[in-house]
C-alpha cells in the first residue's frame, strides 16, 4: 500500500530514533545548524516560487531530466513535493517526521524511474540556488555558517535518497530471485499420489539443494507415492548431476515414495554409463509417457484406451 510504504522503508532501513541521532552526529548536524536554517525560513518562504522556477527551468533544459516532465500531472505532483522539500530544509527539524518525509520524496522519485544520477545532480542544483539566495540576503559571515548547515542537511538527505534507491533495487532482486527459484522446481500433480518434476536448464549444487528440499516437501505434503523426475530438458548430465539425482532418489525413498527418472535420451544414457554412475536402483524410462504409465502401475492403476 503506497500510504504505508515510507513507514515500511523506515523499518527496513532501521531508521529509529537512535539511528537518526547517530546519523545526525556523523553528519555533524547540531541544534545550532537547525536553528540557523530555521531562522532563514521567512526568507525561503518569500523566495520559494523563484527558487522552484529556477530549478524547473534547469530540469527542462537537460534532455535526461526533461523526459520525466512530459506528463503535466507528474509535473504538478513533483512541484508540490519539491515545495515541501525545499521548505523542509528550513523547518529547523531533523527528527523521525523529517526522515519520513525525505523517504517519501525518495520513493516518489524511484517510482517514476528517475535515475539516481539526475536525482543526486538535483541536490547539487538546490545547493546552488539556495546559496545564491542566502548570499544575497545575509552578511558574508552569517551566510557562510548558514551554508555549512544547509550542506550538512542536504548531504544527510542524499544519504537517505541513495538508501531508498538501494532498498528498492534489492527488494526487486529478491522478488526476481524468488520467482526464478519457484520456476526452477515446478512440481506438478499428475494423479492422486503421483507428482512430476520436469527439470530444465543447468543443475548446479545450489539448485540441486533447492530441488531436493522442494521435492521432499511436496512428496510429504501430498503424501505422494511416486515422484517422476523428467530430465529431458537438462542441459548437461555429468557425474555431479547424476549424484544429485541419486541423492534425491535416496531421500524420497526414505520418505516411503518411489522415484522414476524419465527423459533419458541415448546421449544421457551413454553419459551415465560412461561415467560409471550406478543408477540401477532407480526406475528409469526414456519417455515421460512410459514413466507415467509405470507410476500408475506402481500406484495400482492402469491406463486404458478407448471406449468403456
Amino acid at each position: 500500500m503506497p500510504a504505508t510504504l515510507h513507514t515500511d522503508y523506515m523499518q527496513r532501513l532501521k531508521l529509529d530514533a537512535a539511528e537518526i541521532a547517530s546519523r545526525r552526529r556523523f553528519f555533524a548536524i547540531e541544534d545550532e545548524d537547525l536553528q540557523r536554517l530555521s531562522a532563514l525560513r521567512p526568507l525561503a518562504e518569500t523566495h520559494t516560487a523563484e527558487v522552484l522556477a529556477g530549478f524547473y527551468e534547469w530540469l527542462l533544459a537537460h534532455p535526461g531530466t526533461r523526459e520525466f516532465l512530459q506528463d503535466p500531472e507528474v509535473v504538478e505532483r513533483l512541484k508540490r513535493t519539491q515545495l515541501q522539500y525545499f521548505l523542509g530544509l528550513f523547518a529547523g527539524k531533523c527528527d523521525t517526521e523529517y526522515v519520513e518525509h525525505r523517504l517519501r520524496v525518495g520513493i516518489a522519485h524511484e517510482r517514476v524511474g528517475l535515475p539516481l544520477k539526475w536525482y543526486i545532480g538535483s541536490y547539487s542544483r538546490y545547493l546552488d540556488l539556495a546559496e545564491k539566495l542566502i548570499r544575497q540576503s545575509l552578511p558574508p559571515g552569517g551566510a557562510e555558517l548558514s551554508l555549512v548547515s544547509l550542506r550538512r542537511l542536504v548531504f544527510f538527505d542524499m544519504a537517505l535518497a541513495v538508501e531508498t534507491y538501494v532498498a528498492a533495487v534489492s527488494e526487486s532482486i529478491g522478488q526476481h530471485r524468488a520467482a526464478v527459484e519457484e520456476l526452477s522446481t515446478p512440481v506438478i500433480r499428475v494423479f492422486e499420489g503421483v507428482l512430476l518434476l520436469p527439470l530444465i536448464g543447468t543443475i548446479d549444487s545450489a539448485r540441486a539443494q533447492g530441488i531436493m528440499e522442494t521435492v521432499l516437501k511436496r512428496v510429504s505434503d501430498a503424501e505422494a507415492q511416486v515422484m517422476i523426475i523428467d530430465i529431458a530438458g537438462v542441459a548437461v548430465v555429468d557425474t555431479q548431476v547424476a549424484d544429485h539425482l541419486l541423492r534425491a532418489y535416496a531421500a524420497v525413498r526414505l520418505l516411503g515414495a518411489a522415484t522414476i527418472l524419465t527423459g533419458i535420451s541415448p546421449q544421457i544414457a551413454r553419459t551415465i554409463v560412461d561415467l560409471g554412475v550406478d543408477i540401477s536402483a532407480m526406475h528409469t524410462r526414456s519417455r515421460l509417457a512410459d514413466g507415467i504409465e509405470l507410476a500408475l502401475h506402481l500406484t495400482g492403476r492402469e491406463l486404458r484406451t478407448g471406449g468403456s
Binding site: L216, E223, A248, A250, L254, L255, G256
Partner: protein
Amino acid sequence: MAVPGVPIVRIGSALLCVFQSGLSDRIAEESQRQLLAQIERSGATQVLLDISSLDEVDTYTAHVLVDTADMARLMGARTVLVGMRPEVAATLAHMGEALVGLETALNVDQGFALLATKRARR
C-alpha cells in the same frame, strides 16, 4: 536406572513401534531389545517403525534402525520404516545414509498397505 523403551503396540500380526522425539542412543538400543523380545513372544510377522515424531536422526540412530529391521527379518518379521520427515530424509541423503535394504512408507496407513503386498519391493 532402567532405560525406558518406546511404546510397542500389537495390531493383529503386526507390531507398531512408535519412536518419540528426544530419542537417545540408549533408548534406541533398549527399544531394539524390547522389540525383538516382543517378536519372539508374540510371533509377530510384521513390524512398523514409526519415526514421524523424530525431527532429527543421526548416523548412529539410522544404523540402529537398519540393524533392527535386519534382526527382525531374521526372526521372520518384515519391517517397514514409516513417517520420516522431509528434513530428516534430506540430511540422511546428504550424509550418504541411504538406509539400503530398509522398506519405507509415508505413514502408518501406507506402511500397512505395503505390508499387505506379497513380497518386498526394492
